[in-house]
Symmetry: C2
């Protein structure tokens, strides 16, 4: 174990600073150009789904109810796709709408509907200020939706069990709070799975009938190891009074193709009806050929699970490369903390002393692009300037080791700059 | 030529009524079950695009700018798809956003954006009552979008040259009028193509900067015969002050697959930027694999045009079957008028004496489902109860002849019921 920076004398710190500066400058001279900014699968992950493009060979294009998937019709998705996603999310097909390639669009469109048409009551926008709870750190695209619709965001700190439920129960006393975005399993960026206790407390929140939880289950089957996290099915514990509270979404973006997958939404029959009422004006149908292609390729939930093991095989060494370098370079220094997730797409790194922005700049200058520091917080503002999201999926393990070496050196340098008086 | 009903004596009418009643009853006894309600391509039309499903075989999935279409990225469409649609709509690629499978969604989302975020100015919804001009008869899904957003609709009669421009120029004096939906080529349902003069007058309307024409060019290459209509490119005649007035959409729904095609939107660079600003919150990208599949299959505009001749070959006999039966059964009776379009998906039939609703009921009772009578007008209300939309594309020519026989008999019966005192 290395000596903690926090226990060093000023002269030791000064000496370390000089050494780390040298390390950093020599890394900078390598002229790297590595992008670790987004949770993008690598090309090898995309390849494993290419069989899908032949999945319709010899097909008569008829879905289970006899309709030709190439033609117009079926707003809520073909029956076999509804069944597949119902199995994935542990609900009934009647609770499912199968969408296009983007669960983000399904969330955006739903929030838009609540804002301007209402969630069964007066439109949110006509009820005065609208506020959302945002567990932080979280997913920047959720925050962007809130910001687009002028929804005020309230930070809720994450714990190892999920969002701080005491803080949530306090915050919802303000009736302007109309909803919350969550990534309940392998959260973005911390990889935390909400505990059963947390899910139950969320399900039982004392809220108005048009309060909505957007349950973005983007990583529902995205395990990295054999030690998998289990997420309690929130629909199974919703009390009658909150039966319309949850809108769950998921997609195959990180199962098949990010650019050409299939998304889905799960909710109460009442909510599904309300959404279809809007959707019947907005569209005639989503891409049913792509739905059938996915069903023919995966066949069933077991098929999806087997496929996810192929992803895990590719991803595990990448996560390991990051974790190993973080461990070897930063453990014991007292200046950083990080998680070792069992699934998902990210590793979250917290640095001390408000130096995350400085770390981002140092990395950028040395050719390593991180997710914009601050992006994991509403309005891009991390109050303690501590959180850095590492997206290890796109580069190869060898490249990752180089990139994370730059990152750990930048962390040491930035913290030392702060500590040396 | 038959004797006109309008010139018959009451006793002749009475005799004719008895004869037509018998005809109708014997047709009813056939127990038909024919759906002519929607503009759906037949299965034989879908088959001609099936080569597309193999178009990506051996592909490296890279689009022209090197990006892997299977992965995230490129919000406005892959370059080669932008080029293809730019050629189709006679604009530059910078004026194009390539979408998902639905131009209807692109229109819905754009109207939503104008309503709640504005078209460069105060949101429409905050400017008071919002009204749209609706050329009638027109497309029910356009009217449904207006109704969904609470936009008041004003009927504008169609002429053989397009909408009545005098009526439009008068109507826009009301500044609450914020836009107009059009199908400028082979209009739905009349198959009318706006004349060059009409397009120029629309382009030069004296409107506010946030007035928008939704130019739904759904049938831009959907010719049926060698006598093709030509539509003036409205962007080529827009004066500077109206440079942001037009939002054009099109799709391959009736070129490749209705359920799995590619849609596009064309407008000024300024409008494209404003739309992308919303879209970057709403989505990460549309389905780029399907875009590449389409480009590989069609190759270029000539490829699309050659493909459309295959459609015309299938559709022409269907349109002919309808027109022939209308001619042989109704010509000279003085009770109905219809068009013989050079393209598009519909034949529009107008009956006298406010009997369209009755015709719809008689057809339904005899097993022939028409588009809901009234659907071609805002709020489903045809003021003179005269218009019937015939969608001849889905049934075979033989079935069509049966169905249109029922229709013409119903028209005669309904009109006679009115004429006999």
């Amino acid at each position: 174990m290395k000596k903690s920076y926090l226990e060093m004398t000023q002269s030791e710190l000064q000496q370390e600073l000089e050494a780390v500066k040298k390390e950093y400058n020599s890394l900078k001279e390598q002229g790297l150009n590595i992008d670790m900014s987004r949770g993008k699968p690598g090309a090898d992950q995309l390849d494993i789904s290419d069989g899908m493009l032949k999945a319709l060979e010899g097909s008569d294009f008829k879905c289970e109810n006899g309709l030709d998937v190439r033609n117009y019709g079926i707003l809520d998705g073909i029956p076999e796709a509804k069944k597949l996603f119902a199995d994935l999310l542990e609900v009934e097909p009647e609770n499912i709408i199968v969408g296009g390639n983007s669960s983000l669009s399904m969330m955006f469109d739903y929030v838009s509907q609540c804002m301007y048409s209402g969630a069964g009551f007066e439109p949110w926008s006509k009820q005065g200020t609208v506020k959302f709870l945002c567990p932080v750190p979280g997913y920047d695209r959720h925050f962007a939706i809130c910001e687009f619709f002028g929804i005020e965001m309230i930070n809720i700190p994450m714990t190892n069990e999920g969002p701080d439920m005491d803080a949530i129960e306090e915050a919802i006393k303000d009736t302007a709070v109309k909803g919350m975005f969550c990534v309940p399993k392998y959260s973005n960026p911390q990889g935390i799975t909400f505990s059963a206790e947390t899910v139950k407390r969320i399900a039982n929140l004392n809220v108005s009938e048009d309060f909505r939880i957007i349950w973005d289950n983007a990583y529902c089957v995205h395990d990295l190891t054999d030690t998998t996290d289990e997420l309690l099915n929130i629909f199974s514990v919703l009390p009658e009074r909150n039966k319309n509270m949850v809108i769950e979404v998921a997609s195959t973006s990180k199962i098949s193709y990010p650019g050409a997958g299939v998304a889905c939404l799960a909710s109460s029959v009442e909510n599904i009806k309300a959404i279809l009422k809007r959707l019947t004006i907005q569209s005639i149908s989503y891409d049913k050929v792509n739905m059938l292609r996915h069903v023919k390729f995966f066949k069933n939930l077991d098929g999806i699970k087997a496929h996810m093991q192929l992803h895990a095989k590719i991803l595990k060494p990448k996560f390991d490369a990051v974790i190993e370098t973080l461990n070897s370079d930063l453990a014991g220094l007292g200046i950083a903390e990080w998680n070792e997730p069992n699934g998902g797409y990210f590793i979250s790194l917290d640095v001390t002393g408000g130096s995350a922005t400085r770390v981002g700049v140092l990395c950028k200058d040395a050719g390593v692009t991180l997710t914009n520091v601050g992006a994991t917080f509403p309005y891009g503002k991390d109050p303690s300037d501590s959180n850095i999201r590492i997206a290890p999926t796109f580069p190869t393990p060898a490249v990752l080791s180089q990139a994370v070496k730059v990152l750990t050196t930048a962390v040491r340098l930035a913290c030392l700059e702060n500590l040396v008086k």
